[in-house]
C-alpha cells in the first residue's frame, strides 16, 4: 500500500515539475492544473443528476428536504456502543476477507426470516456497504459487452457500475400503471431475454414498489427461461409494510443464479458505518471475494462489531423505526392524493414517487423540482435522476420527521394551487 501511495505522489510531483516554463505546463494550468483525463469508461458516465439540487438546498436556510435517501434516525445505541467497545479493546486490525465468522453466522440466522438459507462459511461475504457488493457483483460476473438489464426507474448506482465493469446497460421500463412492478412483458419488450444479468431492487428506490409473490414468481420464470443471472439488491427488505418481503432467490431454480445483497444502512440506520453483505452460491461468493480481497481487503472492523450487536439486540428498535416510517408513509400518500397528485401505493423503503407530469412545466420533472425548490424551499429528487423510466415523477423521501413532512406538504399544496 505504502509503495503504491508513494508512486502516485511522485508521479504527480514529476508531472508538476516537468518543463515548468513550457507550453505544456501552461496548458495544464488552464485546464485546472492536471494532466489527468478520465479513462473512457469513466468519462462516458454522466455526472450525478442530483448534484445541482444538493447545492441549492445546502445553500438555503429554510429548506425542508424530502430529498434524503437515508434514515433520519441514529443507529441504535447497542450498535454504537459495540463500535465504541470494539475500538476501546483495540480491535483495529483487518478481519478475514469475508468478514468475521460471528457476523456471517448472525447474518445467516437473520436472513432465514426471508426463507433464505446460506452457509456462513462459504456463501456469505461481508462488504463495505451494499454498494460495494453491487460493484463486486458487476465486476465478478459481467464480461465486456455483456448486457445487464436494469429496470428503470431505479437506484442511481447500477448503470455506472455496469459501465465501469465494461457491460452494456439495458433499460427495462416499469410503469406507474403497474405500481412499478417488473413484469415478464416489460422484460420481453425491452429485449431482456437476450440479456446476461438482471438487477432487481425491491423494495425499490425510488418508487417504494414491492413485488408480491406472484409477480416475483413470474420474473423468476423469465430468468430461468432465458438463463439470466440475477443481482438482487434487497437493502430495503426490512422496511416492507404491505405483506412479506419476497426474494427472487427463494423461487425454484433461482438460488443457483442469484446473488442477494443486503446490509445495515437502511434497517438499522447505519449508513455511515458502511456495511453490507452478499449471499449466493459458493462459486459466486468466491469470485466476488477475489475482487474484494484485492480491493477492499475487508469491511471496516468497527462496523462489523456494531453489526453483530445490531442483529442480536436491536429488533425492537428496528420495529419502532419501521412503524414510524409506516405512519409517515400513509400520511404522505394520503396528502399527495389530496393535493391531486397520482401516486401508487409504496409498499416498502421510505419513498413515494408521485406523478407530476400533468402539473410540471412541459411535463418536465426536473423543471418542476427546480421551481418547487426555488419557490417553496422544498427539496425533492426529480424522477429522471433515476433513469428514463422516472420521467414525469418526483421522489419524496419520508425519512423525514413528521413535522417537516407536514410543512413540506403545506408548501407543495400552496405551490400547486
Amino acid at each position: 500500500m505504502t509503495d503504491r501511495d508513494d508512486r502516485v505522489e511522485s508521479d504527480g510531483g514529476a508531472a508538476r515539475g516537468a518543463d515548468p516554463d513550457g507550453a505544456d505546463a501552461d496548458a495544464g494550468r488552464e485546464s485546472g492544473g492536471s494532466r489527468f483525463s478520465p479513462a473512457d469508461r469513466v468519462a462516458a458516465v454522466p455526472p450525478s443528476g442530483i448534484r445541482e439540487f444538493f447545492e441549492v438546498a445546502e445553500g438555503r436556510e429554510d429548506v425542508v428536504s424530502l430529498g434524503v435517501g437515508e434514515p433520519d434516525f441514529t443507529a441504535p445505541w447497542a450498535a454504537r456502543s459495540a463500535a465504541v467497545d470494539s475500538l476501546e479493546r483495540g480491535r483495529t486490525s483487518y478481519t478475514a476477507n469475508r468478514g468475521t465468522a460471528d457476523l456471517r453466522r448472525a447474518v445467516a440466522d437473520r436472513v432465514a426470516r426471508y426463507d433464505q438459507s446460506y452457509d456462513p462459511d462459504t456463501e456469505i461475504l461481508v462488504t463495505t456497504g451494499a454498494s460495494e457488493a453491487v460493484d463486486l457483483a458487476f465486476r465478478a460476473f459481467v464480461n465486456p459487452g455483456d448486457t445487464v438489464a436494469l429496470p428503470t426507474p431505479t437506484y442511481v448506482s447500477y448503470e455506472p457500475g455496469v459501465r465501469f465493469a465494461g457491460g452494456e446497460p439495458l433499460a427495462v421500463h416499469t410503469r406507474h400503471e403497474d405500481d412499478w412492478a417488473l413484469t415478464p412483458a416489460a422484460l420481453r419488450e425491452a429485449g431482456a431475454d437476450e440479456a446476461d444479468v438482471l438487477v432487481l431492487c425491491y423494495p425499490n428506490n425510488p418508487t417504494g414498489a414491492t413485488m408480491d409473490a406472484d409477480e416475483m414468481d413470474a420474473v423468476a420464470g423469465f430468468c430461468r427461461e432465458h438463463d439470466l443471472l440475477v443481482v438482487a439488491d434487497e437493502i430495503y427488505a426490512a422496511l416492507t409494510y404491505e405483506g412479506d418481503h419476497e426474494s427472487v432467490a427463494t423461487r425454484p431454480g433461482m438460488r443457483e443464479r442469484t446473488v442477494v445483497i443486503n446490509g445495515f444502512s437502511k434497517a438499522y440506520a447505519m449508513t455511515g458505518l458502511r456495511l453490507g453483505y452478499a449471499m449466493g452460491p459458493e462459486s459466486a461468493v468466491d469470485a466476488m471475494t477475489k475482487v474484494h480481497q484485492y480491493t477492499m481487503l475487508s469491511a471496516p472492523t468497527t462496523a462489523q462489531r456494531a453489526a453483530v450487536a445490531a442483529l442480536e439486540r436491536c429488533d425492537d428498535e428496528v420495529a419502532r423505526m419501521r412503524r414510524e416510517y409506516d405512519r409517515r408513509r400513509r400520511y404522505l400518500v394520503s396528502r399527495l392524493r389530496e393535493v391531486g397528485l397520482e401516486v401508487s401505493e409504496p409498499g416498502g423503503a421510505f419513498y413515494a414517487f408521485p406523478r407530476v407530469a400533468d402539473v410540471a412545466p412541459d411535463g418536465d420533472d426536473r423543471a418542476f423540482a427546480t421551481e418547487l425548490l426555488e419557490a417553496e424551499g422544498v427539496a425533492a429528487v426529480p424522477g429522471t435522476a433515476f433513469g428514463a423510466g422516472g420521467e414525469g415523477h418526483l421522489r419524496l423521501s419520508y425519512a423525514t420527521a413528521m413535522d417537516d413532512l407536514k410543512e413540506a406538504m403545506r408548501r407543495l399544496e400552496r405551490f400547486l394551487s
Binding site: G67, G69, E324, R327, S334, A379, A385
Partner: protein, 163 residues
C-alpha cells in the same frame, strides 16, 4: 393489537394534538373510524388522558419538581391502594407509582416553590399512619420528559439531497 390501533397510539404518543384528519392519514383509517377507535380506547381506560409537556424554565417561571420516595408499613386495615389513594388525591402529585426495591412509592411532585413541595410532604404524606419514611429529591435539571427532548439539539447532519 391490530396495526391501525398501534399506529393510532404511536401517533398520539408522538403528538397528542394530531388532528383527527392527520390521524386518519397516518393510520389508513377514515376519520369516523379514528373517532370511534379513540372513544373505544378512552372508554376502556386505555387512553387515560392527553396533556402538555411543559418546559417551565423556558417560560421563566418558578416551578419546582421533586421525586419523593415513600416507605410504608401496611396493616390489616390498610393496603397499598389505600395509601396510594390518599397520596394521589393531592393536585401536587404528577405521578404516583408503586415500586420494587428499597422503597414503596415513587411520587413525582411539582409546585411553585420548594416550600410548596416541602409542605406537601410534611403535611400530606409524612403524617399518614402507614408512612414510615420519606426521602425527597429535588429535580435540578430536566433533559427529557415523556419522550420529549428538552435540549433542542439539532443533530441532523445528513446531506440534504442524496440518492
Amino acid at each position: 393489537m391490530d396495526e391501525a390501533t398501534r399506529g393510532l397510539i404511536d401517533a398520539l404518543v408522538a403528538d397528542a394534538r394530531e388532528s383527527t384528519a392527520d390521524l386518519a392519514r397516518q393510520t389508513g383509517l377514515d376519520e369516523a373510524a379514528v373517532e370511534e377507535k379513540l372513544s373505544e380506547l378512552e372508554a376502556a381506560g386505555a387512553l387515560r388522558g392527553y396533556t402538555a409537556v411543559v418546559d417551565w424554565d423556558a417560560l421563566g417561571e418558578e416551578h419546582v419538581k421533586a421525586v419523593v420516595e415513600v416507605n410504608v408499613e401496611l396493616d390489616r386495615e390498610t393496603d397499598y391502594d389505600d395509601v396510594a389513594r390518599r397520596i394521589g388525591e393531592s393536585p401536587a402529585v404528577d405521578s404516583l407509582r408503586l415500586m420494587s426495591g428499597d422503597y414503596d412509592f415513587a411520587v413525582h411532585v411539582s409546585g411553585d416553590s420548594m416550600g410548596d413541595v416541602s409542605r406537601f410532604v410534611s403535611e400530606q404524606v409524612a403524617p399518614l399512619p402507614a408512612v414510615t419514611r420519606t426521602v425527597t429529591h429535588y429535580v435540578m435539571e430536566t433533559y427529557k420528559e415523556r419522550g420529549v427532548d428538552f435540549t433542542d439539539r439539532d443533530d441532523d447532519d445528513r446531506l440534504s439531497v442524496t440518492p
